[in-house]
Symmetry: C2
Subunit: 479 residues, 2 copies
Amino acid sequence: MARDPSTLTGDLARALGDPARVSANATVLEQHAGDFSYHPRRPPDAVVFAESRRDVEVVLRFASERGIPVTPFGAGTSLEGHVIPVRGGIVLDLSRMNRILEVRPADFLARVEPGVTRLQLNRRLEREGLFFSVDPGADASLGGMAATNASGTNTVRYGAMRDNVLGLEVVLADGRVVRTGSLAVKSSAGYNLTALFVGSEGTLGVITEVAVRVRPLPEAVLAARAAFPTLDAAAAVAVGLIASGVPVARVELVDPLTIRAVNRFKGTAYPEAPTLFLEFHGSEAAVAAEAEYAERLAREEGASEFHRETDPKAREKLWEARHHAALAVGATDPRKRQMVTDVCVPISLLPEALRAGREAMAREGVEGAIMGHVGDGNYHAVFMVDPEDPADVARARRVNDAIVDFALAHGGTCTGEHGVGLGKRAYLAREHGDLLELMAAVKRAFDPRGILNPGKVLSEAGEDPLGRPAPLGPTGREP
Amino acid sequence: MARDPSTLTGDLARALGDPARVSANATVLEQHAGDFSYHPRRPPDAVVFAESRRDVEVVLRFASERGIPVTPFGAGTSLEGHVIPVRGGIVLDLSRMNRILEVRPADFLARVEPGVTRLQLNRRLEREGLFFSVDPGADASLGGMAATNASGTNTVRYGAMRDNVLGLEVVLADGRVVRTGSLAVKSSAGYNLTALFVGSEGTLGVITEVAVRVRPLPEAVLAARAAFPTLDAAAAVAVGLIASGVPVARVELVDPLTIRAVNRFKGTAYPEAPTLFLEFHGSEAAVAAEAEYAERLAREEGASEFHRETDPKAREKLWEARHHAALAVGATDPRKRQMVTDVCVPISLLPEALRAGREAMAREGVEGAIMGHVGDGNYHAVFMVDPEDPADVARARRVNDAIVDFALAHGGTCTGEHGVGLGKRAYLAREHGDLLELMAAVKRAFDPRGILNPGKVLSEAGEDPLGRPAPLGPTGREP
C-alpha cells in the first residue's frame, strides 16, 4: 500500500502530541533499516521513538486503524533480520523506554521497561549483590531479548529468557494492554501467554514491561581458558564436563579462525588454537575443585594450557574477547555481512554436529568461524557474505542448510537462541511444518490485520507457504 | 446433547477395532467420575483405555466428527476437577500408555508415554544414576503433570514441569498429530507451543508423548526436619534460606494440624509443632555446610529440634510423611472432601500471606491444614468440606477467596501448581481478566468445536463469563 511519508509523520506526531517522537529523517530511517545480519536493509516510512506505554498504545491503535505495519526495534542487535521493516510502515523504537522500574532484592526480581539493556540492568543490580544472568554477548535490550527468547554464555547454568521472565506487559495489535504472568516464581493460571510472547519476535504484541528473575552474585567466580590441539578435543571436554554434572556457569568454544580475528580486533595474543572459555560460580572451595576437575579433563584431551583468572578485571577482559568474537569476525572484511548458523543439538551429539558443519564448509569451500555455547549443544558458524553476490550468499546458505539438516535429523533445532526472523523461516518449516498452521492461527487470533512485524517467523499470504526464502532478484536483494 | 451409551460404546469399539478398550460398566464409569477434590462427581458416558497414539487419534477423530466431549484422564490425582467429564461424553484413560520409550543418560533426557508415572520413571532412571525432579507428592502420570504444569517439593531447585519438558507429541482435537519442541535443551524456533500445551489441562490437545530433562543423582543428600514454636518462625527460616542463596533442594512447611493427621495416619510421632522439612543436594561437604547454615537460622528462630537424616531409608520415611500429608488430612474425616488453596506469592511476602490465610480461617471459623512448597512462596490450605452442605462449601470458599485476594493484591498468583480446572475459573478471571479473551481465541484456534475437556480453564458459552462457580443447586451439586 502506498503511504505518503509526510502525511504519515504529521499524522503520527498529532496522534502522539509531540513531533519530537516521530522522524522521517533519512539518517534516522537508515539507522532503522537493518540489523547485524546479511539480510537486505529496508528503511521504514517513519520511526517513532516511544517514551511511554501510552505512546505504544497510540501508535498501535493508529496503525491498526490504517493497516500500517509496525516493527518494534530495541538495540538492533538481532541476527536474522527481525527488526527490518520488510513491508515498510512504522519502526517503533523502544530505546527511550529505558527505566528500571523496580528492583526487589528480597524477591530476586526486577521490573524494567523494554529499552533497558542487560549491561544497564547489571550495573544497577551490582549494588545489591545481584546479577541478571542472560548474556547474549551484545548489549541487547531486555524487550528484544524477551522477544527472541535470547540466551547466551551462561544459559547452561541459569537458563534462557524463557526461564527468567516472570511476566510481561504487552500492547496488543489493536492498542489494548494486557499483563501476563505474575511476580511469583511459578504459576499454573491458565494458558502460559508469557511463554507465548517470549520468542514471538514482535509478531504477537509489543512488550512494554518485563519482569525478570535476578540472582545473587556468586561468592567466588573463576574463569579459565584452555587451548586444545583439535576442535574435537575441545568439544569432548565440553561434553565431558556436562556429563559429569559439574554446574559449570559458562563453557564457550571458539575456533582458531575466531581467535585470530579476536587477536587482531582486540590486540590480544591468545594462542590461535581451538579454545574453551570456562567459568565456575560458587564457594571458593567449590570453584577451585570444579576448575581442577575441568583441567584434568582438558589435559587428558591434550590441552596445552589451562589458564585461570580470578581477578575481576582480568576475567572481564577474557570475556570481552569472547563477547567481541562475532564483531571481530565481522571486522575481518568490512565490505561483507554476517550469516550466522544457530543449531542446538542434544549435548552428546555436539562433536558430531561440529564435524558435519566443518565437512559442509570444506565441501562448499566456505570459510566459517566457529563459536558456541557448547554446554547447551548450541554452536554458531559465522560466514562473511557479500549480500550483493547471489552466488556467495547461495554457497553460504548451502552450508547453513547442511548444518540445519544434521541438527534436525538428530533431534535438534535450527535455532537455539537467535530466533527465526526472516532468515530461518524455511528452516522453521522443515523443523515444525506440522505446527505452522497452529502458529498461523495463533498469529491471526492475536493480530487479525497482520500489522505486527509482518513477514517474520511465519511467511505471509502470497509468499512461499513453506517459508522458503524468495529467490534472489537481479540486484542480489530479495525481490 | 443426548447420547445413547450403548450405541456410543459399540461405535467406539468398532472404530478402535477392539471392544476391550471401551467400557460403559458402571464401576468403570464411576472410577472416572472424579478426582481427589470436593468437586461434584459426574460419570462419563464411556471410558476408552487408549493403548497407543493411534487409539487417541481414532477417538478424537470420532468425537470431533460427532461433537462429543473428550476428557483425558491420567492417574486421577488432580485437585481442581480437571478430569471430571462435566459435559459427559468420553473419558480417555491414558494409563495403559505407560511405556518408557527412551532414556538417554548422556543427553540427560527421557521420552515417555503419558501414562508413565513419576515413580515408575524414577525407578528406571535410578539404574543410570539419574532422577526426574518434578515431584507433586502423588504418583501422578507424566502426561497429567505436563497438562497441569505440576511442580512440587523440589521445584525450588529444579523447576516445574514447564522448565523440564523439552517437547511433546500431541493429538489435536481433529485427530491430527503434531510434535512440539525438540530434544535440544533450548530453542527459539517459532512460537513456543510446548509451553502453551504445558498447563493447558487437556483443553488444547491430548499429550501422547513427553520428552523431559532428567538429572544426575546428587553425590550426597541430606534431609532435615526442624520444629518451631510458631508458623511465623518456620516461614521466616524458609525466607531466610532462599534470601541467602543457599541452593536448597526442598523446603516444605507443615503446620501442627497436618503433623497430627500424619502421626495418626502413618503411626509416626513427630512433635505436633510447625515444622520445616528440608533437603540439600550436592557434595558431602556442601550439604553439610548448607545444613549447618540452616540449623543456625532455625535455632535463631527458636527451633526446638533440628533432626538430620542421611540414611536413604530414613529419608524416604521422612518424605513419605510429607507426601502423605494431604491424604492424611483427608483421612481425618472420610465423609468429607478436600478443597485446597494454592496461591504463590513473591517469597518475601510468604509470612504475611500465611498470616492473612490464618486470619481468614479464624474469621470464618474454618479449620484448615497448612502445608506448602514455601521456598517457592507457594502454600496450600486444605479444608475438609461436605460437598452436600452448601453452607460448608460456601464458608470454605470465602476463606479461599480471601487467600487468593491477598495473593493477587501482592503480585502473586491464584494457582502455583494445581491449575485452574473447574474450581479456579473465577480466580483466573480475577487474576487475568484481561487475558481471557486471548485465551478463548487460542482455545477456538486449537479446538474449534470445543470437544476437548469442555468447561475447564475457561468457562463455556452460557456460563458466567467471569467464570464464577454456578450457585449450588438444591442437592448441593452445581446444577
